[in-house]
């Protein structure tokens, strides 16, 4: 046999064929196919869940003021799910959409990953990373320089609405540093507290025992739209509609738009916008005229109900006479837009209910309320005799100043603190003004009473939430040094020179003040459920480090080792319970009327602290929205919902996914609600593009016809139009706050605008 190419090929082919046939009778091809397919699932860029032991850690959610206890499920070191904590006095296992998706804040790709210094223009969002040592020393040095130049008062500080130990530390810092310019975002709860101070003579927080009430008269409060402690009230609402609940509550919702709460209420009263206070007064009239008020309470524990004599010996009309003579439902019908018969019916139902309560604070209660409105509502509660009664309005012990050592002040600090506040000129006309944050931007831009050298933003998001946000942004650009402590690139952080990122509520220990309006009070504590994901630090620690770096009395006022030590001292006797249980609940019984008022009385016509002889008589105030009614015939009103926004954090990507295109169009255009009648007059069809103009800005919108909104109004969903945050939220829709302007309350000067003048033109 000749061994040539042909032989070689033939034998070779034979062997290969034999091998090939043979291998098919082994598991090799089948097993390899299977293994390779599994191998492809393990490519490093394929996301796979963590493995490890499952555990649950407890903390308190701070994404909104609701104060829910949350339980975080962890697998190994990774947090994988947030649930409500069973048995927690605030939310008992419930959680809202935002709280549920909190891990998207924790692990989100757009968090501030460490201390940052601005590299681009203001608002551009370009930053470079610096070390913590650099961040602290550079900020401290700049602040020390301003102070050395004798201008400590030119440093301002903003805190959020929450009055926790961290905002108290910032207030303390300003005091030691020597600046009177602390600005806090005022809420409806502050107005209620002020009203209680005037009427009850007590510095106390106000709460409502909705768990036990059986008739709830809500003046625009969005009970299931994120008011107060959102999950708590959602659970209440659920309980009222549970067939097993014996005691059901009847909910009457008075507001100009068919909100979710109004739609789910037992009765909806479509009151004219801004006329909730006059409506309450009309009801007061019915109750007094029909003699349906609690005579025991009114006679023994109140004053100025009947006519009274002022210190000059002049006779003054009492509350009763003022109301009876001026505020009958018929007289106020034009203002309120509610038929007198309906007012009478509801007022009588309210007064005859066993445990009625009237509540206020529009929508989520995150905006200051008109003082006269709140006083009318508190008068309703007083007439019902429900103060501190089960199901009634509760006077809660206020979180007093924390038991820290006195602030050390040197001559520089004393001098700086004597300077007028930045908002002093704007606050002048208002007898009860106590810090007008909406006047801040104007003061900065006008450089009056003096130029602002630095701003510390310890909470809130002024670039987004302040009315006329474009002005706020200009003001932020004009301040030489802006330091933000935000853990996320919110709209304000985009304008900062330095960002010293705070931890999130899942990363370190911090107190959570009792949720607004909640009865009983529950103080919470956040805990380090996980190690910080990035190089963030508790804002309290950053501030203490800055103070220490400045030396002198500033450092002396911050003698604690770290924030933990300050927190522990602040919590005093509560600390043990707080640190072991995660929350502290006020178990003391509500004081009786005698104990509560202790010789004083509830005053229907209180004397303001600034003096005045006549007392504050009830007023049917409707906050007037200024502007040219000819060129801007419509009124745009904010539409709030928990699905869009809750507290001062923007929606999570998950929440964005739940928003239907009846709220945000597919092309990210904001959808506004207009009554078909109004839209018809304007000639704008359903789901048609339009241009919305207000005196402060313009936006492209999509008009949707909706009979749930009063003719003449434009419902504008809140929570959109962010310039900061993540790529999932940014640049969608328009920001209501940027389009709106402030309208001052005649007494407090706070912004109490309930809407803004607007014009819609077909695009």
């Amino acid at each position: 046999m000749k061994f040539d190419r042909r032989t070689f090929l033939t034998l070779g082919l034979g062997a290969v064929a034999g091998g090939a046939v043979g291998i098919n009778f082994t598991p090799v091809p089948w097993k390899l196919t299977d293994d390779v397919s599994i191998w492809t699932q393990n490519w490093p860029w394929t996301p796979v869940p963590q493995t490890g032991e499952t555990s649950y850690k407890q903390t308190t959610c701070t994404l909104c003021p609701g104060g829910c206890g949350v339980s975080v499920r962890k697998v190994g070191k990774r947090c994988v799910k947030i649930e409500g904590t069973e048995g927690h006095p605030v939310n008992n296992g419930g959680v809202c959409l935002l709280g549920n998706s909190g891990l998207q804040y924790l692990y989100g790709p757009d968090r501030v990953r460490g201390p940052m210094k601005r590299a681009g223009r203001r608002g551009e969002g370009r930053f470079i990373e610096i070390t913590w040592e650099e961040a602290i020393s550079e900020v401290a040095e700049k602040l020390a320089k301003i102070r050395a130049a004798g201008k400590p008062h030119t440093v301002a500080c903003m805190t959020g609405a929450q009055q926790d130990t961290v905002s108290a530390l910032f207030a303390r810092f300003l005091e030691a540093y020597g600046s009177p310019n602390l600005f806090k975002s005022p809420t409806a709860w502050d107005t209620q507290r002020l009203s209680a101070r005037l009427m009850c003579g007590l510095d106390a927080a106000v709460g409502y025992d909705l768990d036990n009430a059986d008739y709830i008269l809500s003046f625009g409060s969005g009970l299931i739209d994120g008011w107060g402690s959102p999950v708590h009230h959602l659970a209440n609402y659920g309980a009222w509609h549970d067939p097993d609940t014996k005691e059901k509550a009847y909910l009457v919702q008075a507001e100009p738009r068919l909100s979710l709460t109004a739609a789910k209420a037992d009765a909806w009263v479509a009151v004219n916008p801004g006329a909730e206070g006059p409506l309450a007064l009309a009801m007061v009239h019915v109750i007094i005229a029909d003699g349906l008020y609690d005579k025991n309470f009114v006679n023994s524990y109140t004053t100025r109900f009947e006519d009274w004599t002022d210190p000059d010996g002049r006779q003054q009309a009492g509350f009763k006479r003022t109301v009876l003579e001026n505020y009958s439902p018929d007289k106020l019908a034009k203002i309120t837009g509610v038929a007198p018969e309906r007012v009478r019916k509801i007022a009588r139902e309210f007064a005859r209910a066993r445990k009625p309560v009237a509540i206020c604070g529009t929508a989520q209660g995150d905006q200051a309320a008109a003082l006269y409105h709140v006083m009318a509502v508190q008068a309703l509660n007083a007439l019902a005799g429900n103060i501190n009664r089960p199901g009634g309005m509760q006077i809660l012990e206020a979180e007093g100043p924390f038991p820290w050592p006195d602030v050390q002040k040197d001559a520089k600090a004393e001098k700086g603190l004597e300077k007028p506040r930045l908002d002093a000129p704007a606050a002048k006309p208002y007898p009860l003004a106590d810090g007008l944050i909406h006047a801040f931007a104007g003061a900065v831009l006008a450089q009056k009473p003096y130029p602002v050298e630095a701003l510390l933003v310890a909470g809130g998001d002024p670039a987004y939430f302040l009315p006329r946000a474009s002005e706020a942004k200009k003001a932020l650009s004009a301040i030489p040094l802006v330091v933000s402590f935000s853990p996320v690139f919110n709209d304000t952080a985009m304008y900062a020179d330095y960002i010293l990122p705070d931890d999130l509520y899942l990363e370190s220990v911090r107190d959570v003040p009792s949720p607004p309006g909640l009865v009983p009070r529950v103080v919470g504590l956040t805990r380090a459920v996980t190690d910080p994901v990035y190089a963030s630090r508790p804002a309290g620690d950053s501030l203490i480090a800055i103070a220490k770096a400045m030396g002198g009395t500033v450092a002396g006022s911050f003698a604690w080792k770290n924030y933990q030590a300050a927190l522990k001292q602040a919590m005093g006797g509560k600390w043990r319970t707080l640190s072991s249980k995660g929350y502290w609940i006020d178990e003391s019984p509500a004081p009786s009327w005698t104990q509560l008022f202790g010789g004083k009385r509830f005053s229907f016509c209180p004397t303001p602290p600034a003096g005045g002889r006549t007392g504050m008589k009830p007023q049917p105030l409707v906050v007037d929205i200024p502007g040219d009614a000819k060129s801007m015939p419509l009124l745009a009103v904010p539409v709030k919902s928990m699905q869009l926004e809750n507290g001062q954090m923007a929606a999570t990507p998950f929440m964005m996914k739940t928003i239907p295109d009846t709220v945000l169009d597919k092309a990210d255009v904001l959808v506004v609600e207009v009554n078909p009648q109004t839209a018809g007059k304007l000639g704008i069809g359903n789901r048609k593009a339009a241009r919305l103009a207000t005196p402060f800005g313009e936006a492209d919108v999509l008009v949707v016809h909706n009979e749930g909104v009063m003719p003449g109004l434009v419902g504008l969903p809140c929570g959109f139009g962010h310039a900061g945050y993540s790529r999932f939220v940014r640049g969608k829709g328009a920001n209501y706050h940027a389009l709106s302007g402030a309208v001052a309350d005649p007494l407090t000067g706070h912004d109490v605008a309930w809407g803004v003048r607007a014009r819609l033109t077909q695009a």
């Binding site: 046999m1 043979g22 699932q41 032991e53 190994g76």
Partner: protein, 239 residues
């Protein structure tokens, strides 16, 4: 006409002779190659495919079951139906904060892991890619399937078996099954073998028990057998 004609056909057979015997030889070679393939496929391949690892700690299940009474002490169900899986140091240190005996393995565990606050990197025989939603509660509490049905009689072992890691997938050999052929006893049959009498959980499985594999076909076969469904919906497992 003796002159050779180069085109004459008679010349051809002479050329063919040169290749005589090629066909049988080719066939023979093919058979040899097939045999070698079979050898490689059945013998060498599994040896190459799997890497043998010893567990970091030789854990004695039998001893723990004896002390604690059942599997539930360490592998428990939460109220919400979640399954604790393989316990971490958190659970172990309920007893083993310090060594409580003289076993070198326990001492190793305490010194290397507890004191250093490190979790043990167990090789997990049953780990699989996370392609499906699998609920232990649905199977064990709802379906009343015993642990052994899928995991074998692990609970009676005094030593941990070596772990054979598939070099391609990184998962245990147990998933495909010990036999490279992939032919195994059906899971429900294994279950029947494992528990023949009343005292089923008190005794190790008999000698003829073989561990079932844990591939999708096994799930499907069992669902078919036990639930009586002809074809299970994809979404039942692939959420």
């Amino acid at each position: 006409m003796s002159q050779a004609d180069p085109n004459h056909k008679d010349h051809q057979p002479a050329a063919d002779n040169r290749y005589a015997g090629l066909l049988p030889l080719t066939l023979f070679l093919a058979c040899v190659a097939a045999y070698v393939s079979l050898l490689i496929g059945w013998e060498l391949f599994p040896r190459l495919l799997y890497a043998k690892h010893e567990q970091p700690i030789d854990f004695n299940h039998a001893l723990h079951v004896d002390q604690l009474g059942d599997c539930e002490g360490c592998h428990w169900f939460r109220e919400d139906g979640g399954f604790s899986g393989i316990p971490g140091n958190f659970t172990c240190t309920e007893c083993h904060m310090d060594a409580i005996g003289y076993d070198p393995e326990e001492i190793k565990f305490v010194e290397q892991y507890v004191y250093k606050d490190r979790e043990v990197d167990w090789y997990v025989y049953s780990r699989q890619p996370d392609c499906v939603f699998f609920s232990h509660a649905a199977h064990v509490l709802g379906g009343e399937i015993s642990c052994e049905t899928c995991h074998g009689d692990h609970g009676y072992s005094e030593h941990l078996r070596p772990y054979y890691e598939n070099r391609i997938t990184g998962y245990s050999r147990d998933i495909w099954g010990e036999k490279i052929s992939g032919i195994h006893q059906a899971p429900w049959e294994a279950d029947a073998v494992a528990h023949t009498d009343e005292e089923e959980y008190e005794q190790p499985a008999p000698a003829d028990f073989t561990m079932p594999s844990m591939k999708m076909d096994d799930c499907a076969a069992c669902h078919y057998q036990m639930k009586g469904v002809k074809r299970e919906g994809c979404f039942v497992c692939h959420k």
